[in-house]
Every structure is written in structure tokens, then in C-alpha cells.
């Protein structure tokens, strides 16, 4: 009997544990994924709600109304065609053609599913309920400017955020879509390519911008690496079949780590990757969010990919310089650049500044949260100084902004496709290293050639414009 009592107690403990896990999982799963479940295209509630609820407006950070509902409940996008197209991927559309836009992902707010009790109470007798207005962190003028400045005839993406608060200031993807004229895209050859937001969902080979990660790994794992002197002869035989080649193949001669970074020397960084090994390089990349699963509250950002297994030394060396099987998402690289400027702390990007309920109450939604602690503050400081030097005298001089301290890194990502050899993707990531204007940026111009020209030039202009015109929130 006594033994039975003890056993019954064991059963009780087991059941308590089982149900604790159940409740914990339940709460966590809904907290982490709730909005993602809710906003899937398979939620017929959203479609139904659009019939019975007047969706709220979407405003930009300066209060400009971007999307509003007309009297009959249909959605009105910006009348100016260029503005409308520049913002197409951020805003999305009611049909959910652009699956990750604000119209879909913030539907719970716009359609009043999250409305407070007070908001609901004021509308008991309303014929049609009204959803909440959402003010985005996006600067519509800046975004339109980016669209104007983006090299004609090229595709790509730009992501710009405030790396201290997480506010996303611009999120541009090209080719653009037009929510007002979906019929224009019905026959498009590559329809999903148009609908994809390349800034948050596009996965590209990062090229030399990945050297930021390799550098961080070297600084944290190889004591004294800063004081070492390297030699670059233009090529380096890693294995019998695999040579590491520098961009022009002429060789940089002897150089320090800093010079290797500012000149973006493949030989030195490939050798560093070999010295560090696959495990350490992967660990550093994962600390910065590669292979992670971002569950941000306001927007969907796909994860960048560091390969699960690297086949041989040759691939490892190429991975260290950003080639191999690496894949990076522009927004994520902007966040990494921001972490460099922010003493190693990566903040969670935020797209919603505030929500105004139907009763008129405004709730601020901006709450700065740390997403990842990517590296130590000292490592971040060293990388930042190297990146500043890169803009002052290295490969990224075109990204400079007069009178401001800019840190940056260019990349020229080789792309091999079955159709033959294309021009490489042109990359730039960087940040403004100043207290008042803590902006981080990532630019990719597909097949745009060397990163030092197309991407860096665009980034410099955009950064200058952002520094001059972006107003702090809550002005």
C-alpha cells in the first residue's frame, strides 16, 4: 500500500510535467507563430472580414497616408504611380499577391482583430466596424528616392534601418509590383519573382560582404591576428583542383589584416577561413543569425544560410570569402552591419511605429528589443574601424558621404547559372557610425558588376538622403 502511494505520486508528477510542457508549448507557439498562422493566405476569416470591416489606413513615419479605404470599403493605394510601385512590396495588397506585405501581415491590426475593448465598445452600433490605422516606420519619400536612384534595367533590393531602435526606414525590392494593376503581371514570365520582396526574402550569394563574418571570427578566435603580416600573390592553391583567386589576380603583396579587409583580399580571407576551420566559422555565422529562424513581430525576414556541411578545403576557403554555398538575405546583412555599428548588438527590426484604434487612442508599438548578441563590443569596434577605413581609402570610397563617418564593405558575388556565366551581383553593406543618425544599409544590384561601383554609389546616395531627411519617430 505504501509503495502504491509512492507510485501514484510518481504518476502525479509525470502528469504535472506533461501538462506543464503542454501549456508552455501552447503559449509559446501561439506567442511566436500566432501572427504568422493568422496571416496565411488560407485564413478565410481575413477575406470575410474585409467584407464586414472597413480596414484602417496605412501611414508612413511622417504621417503621409499611403493606403486608405474608400467609402465602399475598397482599398486605395497611392495615386502617384512611382510612389505606389516603389512601396509595392512593403505595403502588399488585399489579395495577398505579395504574400508578406503590410496589408497581409498586419491584417490583424488593420481589420481590428487586435482592437482593444474600448475600440470595440465604440463600434457596437456601427453599421460597419472600422479597423485600426497603422503607422509604419517606413519613410515613403526616401523609398521613392531609392526607386529613382536604383540603376535602370537592373533588379535588386535595398534595406535601410535604424540600428539602435530597429525602425526599418526603407525596404525596396525591384522588379516592382503594382497593386492597382495586378492584371499587368498576370502574363509575366516569372510572376513570383515580381511578387517576392527581395529585401527580406531574396537569398543571394553574399560575396565579399561576408568577410565581415570571417573577420569577426578571426578576431575572436585568433589572438594577435591584427598584428600579423600576410602575403598575397594573387593566387593560392588550396587543393589540387581548387585555386583561390583574387578578383584581378595580380596580388596585393604583403599586407596587414586591416589592409586585407579594406582591399577585400580573397587570398588572406580564404587562408583565414582554412585556419579557423568550418566549425568556428559556422559558429560565428550562426551567432549572427545565419541558419536561424527569425520570428519578428512586424515583418517576415527569411534566414540566411551557412551550409550544413562543407565538402572540402577548397569550399571552405571560398566560403570564407563569401562564395561557396552561402546564401544571404539583404535585410539580414543590413542587420549585421547595424550590429557592427551598435557595439555587437543586433536589434529586432520593427515596421510598425504606432497603431491608432477606431476610438482614436494611439498605442506606440515601437519597443526596441535585442535580437542577437552577435559579437563582443571590442570586436565590433575593430570591424567598424576597418569598415570606416574601407570607405575612406578602400574598395568602398564611392559610398562616402561628405562630412559624415561611414563604415562599409563591398562585395562582388560570382553567380554561376546553368545558362552560363553572368555578371556578378554588386553588394554593399554598411552603416553610419554616428549617434544621431545610426542607420545601417544593405544594397544588392543583381548582375550589377563590381560592388565598389553600382552598389556602393547607390548606397552612398541613399545614406546621404537618409541622414539629411529622415525625422526621428514621435516628432
Amino acid at each position: 500500500m505504501k509503495q502504491m502511494k509512492k507510485n501514484a505520486r510518481a504518476v502525479l508528477c509525470a502528469l504535472l510535467a506533461l501538462f506543464t510542457v503542454l501549456s508552455g508549448y501552447f503559449f509559446y507557439a501561439v506567442y511566436a507563430n500566432g501572427n504568422r498562422w493568422f496571416t496565411t493566405p488560407y485564413n478565410t476569416r481575413l477575406r470575410a472580414a474585409r467584407g464586414s470591416v472597413i480596414a484602417g489606413d496605412i501611414l508612413d513615419r511622417n504621417g503621409t497616408v499611403l493606403v486608405t479605404s474608400s467609402a465602399d470599403g475598397s482599398r486605395e493605394y497611392p495615386t502617384d504611380r512611382d510612389t505606389r510601385k516603389a512601396l509595392s512590396h512593403v505595403l502588399g495588397d488585399v489579395e495577398g499577391n505579395v504574400p508578406t506585405g503590410a496589408e497581409t501581415f498586419l491584417a490583424a491590426d488593420l481589420l481590428g482583430f487586435n482592437a482593444s475593448l474600448a475600440d470595440r465598445a465604440t463600434q457596437i452600433f456601427a453599421e460597419k466596424r472600422r479597423g485600426s490605422d497603422v503607422q509604419l516606420t517606413i519613410d515613403a519619400d526616401l523609398q521613392t528616392y531609392i526607386a529613382e536612384q536604383f540603376p535602370e534595367d537592373y533588379n535588386g533590393a535595398v534595406a535601410l534601418l535604424n540600428y539602435k531602435t530597429g525602425e526599418v526606414l526603407a525596404l525596396y525590392s525591384k522588379p516592382e509590383y503594382d497593386a492597382k494593376h495586378p492584371e499587368d503581371y498576370e502574363d509575366a514570365e516569372d510572376q513570383t519573382g515580381v511578387l517576392l520582396n527581395r529585401a527580406t526574402q531574396g537569398r543571394y550569394a553574399p560575396g565579399s560582404v561576408f568577410k565581415i563574418v570571417t573577420l569577426a571570427c578571426a578576431l575572436e578566435n585568433l589572438p594577435g591576428v591584427q598584428d600579423r603580416v600576410f602575403t598575397c600573390e594573387g593566387t593560392y592553391a588550396v587543393t589540387e583542383e581548387m585555386d583561390l583567386i583574387d578578383t584581378d589576380g595580380e596580388g596585393h603583396g604583403t599586407l596587414t589584416l586591416e589592409e586585407a579587409f579594406t582591399k577585400s583580399c580573397n587570398i588572406v580571407f580564404g587562408q583565414l577561413a582554412l585556419e579557423l576551420g568550418e566549425e568556428k566559422l559556422r559558429a560565428t555565422a550562426e551567432r549572427m543569425g545565419f541558419n536561424g529562424n527569425f520570428l519578428f513581430e512586424d515583418l517576415i525576414v527569411y534566414e540566411s544560410i551557412f551550409p550544413k556541411a562543407i565538402e572540402d578545403e577548397g569550399e571552405l576557403a571560398w566560403t570564407g570569402v563569401g562564395q561557396g554555398n552561402l546564401m544571404a538575405v539583404p535585410m539580414h546583412l543590413a542587420m549585421i552591419a547595424g550590429a557592427v555599428g551598435n557595439g555587437g548588438t543586433m536589434v529586432e527590426p520593427q515596421l510598425v511605429l504606432s497603431v491608432r484604434g477606431a476610438a482614436g487612442g494611439v498605442h506606440s508599438r515601437l519597443s526596441t528589443r535585442t535580437a542577437l548578441q552577435c559579437m563582443s563590443a571590442s570586436t565590433a569596434g575593430i570591424i567598424e574601424s576597418y569598415m570606416i577605413e574601407t570607405v575612406e581609402s578602400g574598395t568602398a570610397t564611392r559610398a562616402a558621404v561628405d562630412g559624415h563617418t561611414i563604415a562599409g564593405k563591398t562585395g562582388t558575388a560570382q553567380v554561376n547559372s546553368s545558362g552560363g556565366r553572368y555578371s556578378p551581383h554588386s553588394w554593399y553593406v554598411g552603416c553610419c557610425a554616428e549617434e544621431e543618425t545610426p542607420y545601417a544599409i544593405a544594397v544588392v544590384v543583381e548582375n550589377g558588376g563590381s560592388g565598389g561601383s553600382a552598389a556602393a554609389r547607390l548606397a552612398g546616395r541613399v545614406m546621404e538622403r537618409a541622414i539629411e531627411t529622415v525625422q526621428p519617430a514621435g516628432r
Binding site: 505520486r9 506533461l18 501538462f19 501561439v30 496565411t40 488560407y42
Partner: protein, 422 residues
């Protein structure tokens, strides 16, 4: 110390809160679209059923566990509210099942607390169970991949639900007095026969519940954790075999791993369930304001999602908490029981109900693969309601005999104190 255990628990305020909750919900439903007087009747009768049970049964049997009684009736009430919101006709049938269930519960309570001739019934229960399961295999109806219904024309019954109760009774009877392997052959054979027949019906949720209940009761009775562990290993091996044998098991697992592969096809149910839960948020859409009817079988398997959508995740968590209190009190009864028969009865009833609750709640939130079992006391279904109520009757019967034993011992102790030694 004894007097503390004998004091009647203070449940008045809980009772009041629950009554108000039920009444308000039904009144809201009455004014949903236009006016409907049926919910107003329910607004009075359902809370009345709860209060009457607590007052009358509480008076007749002071040792009934009133917490358990209140919790179960509240769960039934929440189920009725949700059912009425989804489908008024079903709710009224469920009310009938609920009433019959309460009577069945009282009968079982009486039997467990008072009846001394269980051994005579043992063979009968065993034969009836096996016969019912066999009959289901012959003339049963298929439903969702499992052949576990018998259609009697005016109503369908699900024999596996009642076999769970039979298993708990027989296991407790045999394991409380027989210990050697040889003595356990009959009940062992019975358990194997039941589990085997339910496997043949492809009702894998019930298989899992029966098997794990058997193991738990066996472990508590004999402390033989080696054999219990071996049983678990067998279960794992068996599951693997079933996985390869049955198509619908493979589909279920595949859906659980990634429902988004086929959001309009096989993954539809679970994705709609997740969307439904997420729509409610913490505090819910409000009764009648959500669309839980989009989720297939929202009235039985997915009733938890429907409740979460309209009442909110907080209420969902409170329901889980209520179940936990129910199960914990059941096991505390087992720990206080003086006879191993009663202890094992309580362990068996609690294990069976708890596993079922865990499996369906875990299933609809995609924590584990979905097995089509009902949420005890809440889901629509006569067989499920009756069998859950019989389990409750077992617990109440144990509670009464435990309480009476405690009281008589306490009296004896008092008498000893009062009579001065000469």
C-alpha cells in the same frame, strides 16, 4: 490533522463564478442574431444542473469531492455553450447526453462506494467488452480512417469508449489482489484482446490510451518498472510497425511534420485549427464573433480550437488548468485510499482521462500528431460523454469510500480520547 481533511471545502464562490459565466454566455447567445428563447432556458437549466448536483449530491454524500464535481460540470457547460454556438441541434442532444451522463455517474459512484460483489461481475464485463469490440469489427461504420462505430439506427455508439472504463475496472480488480504472473493471465489476456481489437479497428488514439493506462496501472500496482519500461519499448516498436502498416497513420505523422505542404488538402484541418487559435489571441474574438465553424469537426475533435478562438488562449489555459486540478485531486485520492482496489481505480480513471486530454489538446495545437479522440466532457458525443462520466463516477466512488474510512477512523480516535482510562 484529520479534522482538516474532513472539513468541507469552501466552493461557494467558485460555484457562483461558474454559474454566472454559463448564464451570461447563454444569454449572449440568445441575442446573437435576432432573438432565440432556447438559450434562455439553457441559461437557467445548465447552471441549475450544476448547483443542484453540488447541493443535492453534496448533501447525500458529504464525502464526494465537490471540486471535481464542479470542474467537470463546468467543463460540460463550456462544451454546451460552444456547441450551441456552433450548432444548436447538437447542443440539445448533448444536453441529453449530459443528463444521462450525470445519472450514469451517480450509478457508478454508488457501485464503487457501496457494491461489494465486483468479482461476480468481472467475467461479465470482460466478455461484454470483447463482444462489443468484435461486433464493431463485423458491422461497424468507418469514420476518418477508423472503423469504430456501431450504428443502431436511432443512435451510434463507439464501443471503444466504454471498453476504456471496463479496462480500468478489471485492471483494478485483478491487480489489487493477484500479484503473480500466473494469476494475472486472465486480465492480461483481456487487455491484449481489447488493445488488439482496437488496433484492428484502426482507432489508434484509443489504442494508445488503453495501452498506456494498462501500463500505468500495472506499474502502480506492482512497482515493476522494468516490465513497465519493457511495455513502453514494445509500444514504441508497435507504433513503428503500425506506422508502416497503416496509411492513415503515415499521413497523420506527415501532416504533423509539415501541414503547410498541403494546406488545402491533408493539412487543411490542422492549419485551420492553428489559424482559429491564433485569431482569438489572448482574450478571444468574443462569443459568436469568431468563425470557428471553418475548422472541420469543430464540435468534437477541434472544440478546443473553437473555444480558444472565441474565449481566448487565456480561457484555453484555464481549461487546461482545470483538467490538471481534476487529475491531481484524483491521484491524491489514490494516495489516500486504504484499499488497493480503490487506489488503482482512481489511478486508472485519471490516467485514461489525462492521456485523452493531452492527446487531443496537443494534437490541435500541432505539438504531437493528431489522433482523433475527444476532449473529455467538452466535445460533442454521447459515447464519449457517458464514458467520461463513468470515469468521474469511479473517482467519486473512491472519494466517498476514502472519506468514510477517514471519518470512521477519526471517530474512533476521538472516542479513545474521550473515554478516560481507568
Amino acid at each position: 490533522m484529520r479534522s482538516k481533511e474532513l472539513k468541507r471545502p469552501e466552493t461557494d464562490w467558485v460555484l457562483l463564478a461558474m454559474t454566472l459565466f454559463e448564464a451570461t454566455a447563454f444569454i449572449l447567445l440568445a441575442f446573437r442574431d435576432g432573438f432565440d428563447f432556447v438559450p434562455l432556458i439553457l441559461a437557467v437549466s445548465v447552471p441549475l444542473l450544476l448547483v443542484a448536483q453540488v447541493l443535492l449530491l453534496g448533501r447525500a454524500y458529504p464525502h464526494m469531492d465537490s471540486y471535481i464535481l464542479i470542474i467537470v460540470n463546468f467543463l460540460c457547460g463550456v462544451g454546451l455553450i460552444m456547441l450551441y454556438r456552433l450548432d444548436a441541434g447538437r447542443a440539445l442532444r448533448q444536453l441529453l447526453f449530459y443528463g444521462v451522463g450525470v445519472m450514469a455517474m451517480m450509478g457508478m459512484t454508488f457501485l464503487v462506494a457501496r457494491y461489494r460483489g465486483w468479482r461476480k461481475l468481472r467475467l461479465l464485463i470482460m466478455l461484454a467488452s470483447v463482444a462489443m469490440l468484435g461486433l464493431t469489427l463485423l458491422i461497424g461504420e468507418e469514420n476518418g480512417g477508423a472503423k469504430n462505430w456501431i450504428d443502431l439506427g436511432f443512435l451510434s455508439i463507439q464501443p471503444s469508449e466504454f471498453v476504456k472504463v471496463a479496462l480500468v475496472l478489471c485492471l483494478a480488480m485483478d491487480l489489487s489482489e493477484r500479484r503473480t504472473v500466473r494469476q494475472l493471465v486472465p486480465v492480461g489476456l483481456f487487455a491484449v484482446a481489447c488493445v488488439g481489437l482496437i488496433v484492428l479497428q484502426k482507432d489508434l488514439g484509443a489504442v494508445l490510451i488503453c495501452f498506456l493506462t494498462c501500463l500505468t496501472v500495472y506499474y502502480v500496482a506492482t512497482s515493476n518498472w522494468m516490465l513497465a519500461l519493457a511495455g513502453l519499448v514494445c509500444a514504441a516498436a508497435g507504433s513503428t510497425v503500425l506506422y508502416h502498416l497503416f496509411d492513415h497513420v503515415r499521413t497523420r505523422v506527415a501532416i504533423w511534420q509539415n501541414p503547410w505542404d498541403s494546406p488545402q488538402g491533408s493539412g487543411y484541418q490542422i492549419i485551420q485549427s492553428l489559424i482559429s487559435i491564433a485569431s482569438g489571441g489572448l482574450t478571444g474574438m468574443g462569443l459568436g464573433l469568431g468563425s470557428p465553424d471553418i475548422v472541420p469537426v469543430a464540435e468534437s475533435d477541434f472544440i478546443f480550437s473553437a473555444i480558444c478562438e472565441e474565449f481566448g488562449i487565456l480561457v484555453g489555459l484555464i481549461l487546461i488548468l482545470l483538467y490538471v486540478i481534476l487529475f491531481a485531486r484524483g491521484l491524491l485520492l489514490a494516495m489516500r485510499a486504504r484499499s488497493s482496489f480503490h487506489a488503482l481505480l482512481a489511478v486508472g480513471a485519471v490516467t485514461s482521462l489525462a492521456l485523452q486530454t493531452f492527446m487531443i489538446v496537443g494534437g490541435v495545437i500541432k505539438m504531437i500528431p493528431l489522433t482523433g479522440v475527444t476532449l473529455p466532457f467538452v466535445s460533442y458525443g454521447g459515447s464519449s460523454m457517458l464514458s467520461s462520466m463513468l470515469m468521474l463516477g469511479i473517482l467519486q466512488g473512491v472519494s466517498i469510500s476514502v472519506g468514510e474510512q477517514d471519518e470512521s477512523q477519526w471517530r474512533m480516535a476521538r472516542r479513545r480520547e474521550e473515554v478516560p482510562e481507568l
